[in-house]
Subunit: 369 residues, 2 copies
């Protein structure tokens, strides 16, 4: 099966371009309908060409996760860029270079860093306070009114720093497994952000509210209470998002084509060329609680619309993947065939594979960061 990939020699990230564009269309339409700015996170695809698909649909503001990635996209003509990572004081001089070339948005959560930035910024930058609205990865606790207010004031009083608002990432939605729970988590996170906004307003400080995670932005219909959303993963989706309920399998626009290199009928396993240096070690758990590292896509009309429920990549080492295979799969594939694996986490997989191949065989480059 899958003979349309005859010239694929090694693990290759396939991208269903139509599907990715539909995913963008859907999010653009949702943002427009809600009157919020869509500032998609480009760490998912890290590709100038894929970025153009957003630009063609009217997107002008983007999010990135590092200074290097900001520079890559500024080099490709993007002029409104948020680095969604707490400002790293060791990169101030590169931040200054970028601020001369684009409207640069930075995240702070520490008055010490605001002071460093205030002293060293030699061009105007937009500053957002990173708020912890429940995820506890980073940010100022949303209840810590004193710290939020003093940090906002420190920004407002500094030359070259323009206070824009408050920003959060509700990464806790990634652990949820129903639309109902995602809506609740989103509601709680937004309520907390709005209470911070209200507190700042009562001190005469106007703050925009930026949120964004793919589960919430995919599942929640009404996003009107915020000003900006920053989802990234939605362009590709992946098995994690499918398990969360953010997408259908037929919305997932990436799969990894892996050569089958051995077939073990006794253990009902296939060994594929495709391991931790291609997929990362991200895993989900099957219904029995065992970890797995990817699912086998069923090819249908040139793309994939379902996964084989009885075949899973159950083990992964540096270059090897072991697929526990269904009877049907074992009967239909041979050593030398290509197997398509839907990744657990498309952002990490794309980062590792470093480029895309469309379903008609065209290569799409990524940043080399």
């Amino acid at each position: 099966m899958y003979d349309s990939f005859q010239d694929i020699e090694k693990p290759t990230l396939l991208l269903d371009e139509d599907r990715a564009k539909k995913n963008i269309d859907r999010m653009v339409a949702k943002a427009r309908k809600n009157g919020v700015t869509l500032r998609p996170h480009f760490k998912t695809h890290q590709s100038a060409e894929v970025g153009e698909w957003f630009r063609e649909r009217g997107v002008v503001s983007i999010t990135v996760s590092s200074v290097d990635m900001a520079q890559y996209f500024v080099d490709h003509g993007w002029t409104d860029v948020t680095i969604a990572f707490p400002l790293n004081p060791r990169q101030i001089s590169r931040v200054n270079s970028l601020a001369r070339r684009c409207q640069l948005h930075l995240l702070v959560e520490d008055e010490g860093v605001v002071e460093i930035l205030a002293n060293q910024a030699d061009h105007e930058v937009s500053v957002w306070l990173k708020i912890d609205a429940g995820y506890h990865r980073t940010g100022i606790d949303w209840r810590n009114q004193g710290k939020i207010l003093s940090t906002a004031l420190a920004v407002i009083e500094s030359q070259n720093l323009e206070f824009r608002g408050i920003l959060t990432h509700a990464g806790n939605t990634y652990a949820l497994r129903s639309s109902e729970k995602i809506r609740e988590a989103y509601g709680e996170s937004v309520d907390r952000m709005l209470s911070v906004k209200g507190m700042l307003a009562s001190s005469g400080i106007k703050a925009a509210v930026s949120v964004g995670d793919t589960p919430s932005c995919s599942i929640v219909g009404d996003l009107r209470e915020v000003d900006e959303i920053r989802p990234g993963n939605f362009i590709f989706y992946d098995l994690s998002q499918f398990h969360i309920g953010s997408c259908r399998v037929e919305d997932i626009s990436v799969a990894v084509a892996c050569p089958i290199v051995a077939k073990h009928l006794d253990r009902r396993q296939l060994l594929i060329y495709g391991g931790a240096i291609h997929f990362s070690k991200e895993y989900l758990r099957d219904p029995s609680g065992h970890p797995f590292y990817g699912s086998v896509a069923i090819l249908d009309g040139g793309s994939w619309n379902a996964v084989d429920p009885d075949s899973r990549m159950i083990s992964i080492s540096q270059e090897h993947g072991i697929v526990q295979a269904s009877d049907h799969l074992l009967d239909h594939v041979s050593v030398g065939d290509i197997l398509l694996i839907i990744p657990i986490h498309s952002c990490l997989t794309a980062n590792l594979l470093g480029g895309y191949r469309t379903l008609d065989g065209r290569l799409i480059e990524m940043a080399k960061l």
Copy 2:
């Protein structure tokens, strides 16, 4: 603390060159003492320059994990190369190109693949049977005498294929946690390989025996029963190897320098610039069973000789790492400082970081595969 790394801006893989060379010296001496060939696995470092450190110590045979990696090292003058991955029939034409340029060793475990290779190999290659001596990742089960014999005979009868012997990887040692158990596992694996060798000998087939995993090669003293060892990780070691008992912390030659970007005293956490795209998502479990993704090195005399037992990287996302920090650590570091993290798995970390910085600040390149 750690101010000697002033120009480090982002996650950077530090390499203690002296320590790495000592690790090589020790393994070279052990191989020599035992009269076995050391064919180190170069997937760990993937660097032509680091490869030269082995060459200077008399190593002439190497192991790699992909055709791309073989080509990189052949381009850098290596002439005796084992691709320790089951032959991928989709790469036969590249294998042929390599076989014209070096003594190439390939792994097979399937008569179908032997047939493909026999039909398409246009230059002589050495062939090893991949044996499963208990790890169950891949290879022919060591008890399956019929299949081993028929596959060996198929190789022997084919033009351009030279049968060399039997090869295994006892990856099961990675799950063990005492020298005693590693010795037992090694003994069992070697006994099984020797029984296969004996079986082949009784059919008049001479087979060399190749084994190799860093825990066994580090811990077992007597390796005389085999012909070749293929450890790789030992040049760097890492936290996994330390927990297995393969090395001391003061033998670990790599650490990742990560800028501290936020300090959360309420949660006793540090946020560092250093995440899954730098470390991979490999983890160990702490004494309470919680996963962790790296330990904090204590700098001592320019390198690291211990880890902080009360500080661990407890969570990791794409670019962020969260370090649960000891009181001492919290008292002694500030935002903007560099924290050194000992990785769980140095091979995956090196693959992600793509290059090294020595302790005196020199950069060492890796292959761009």
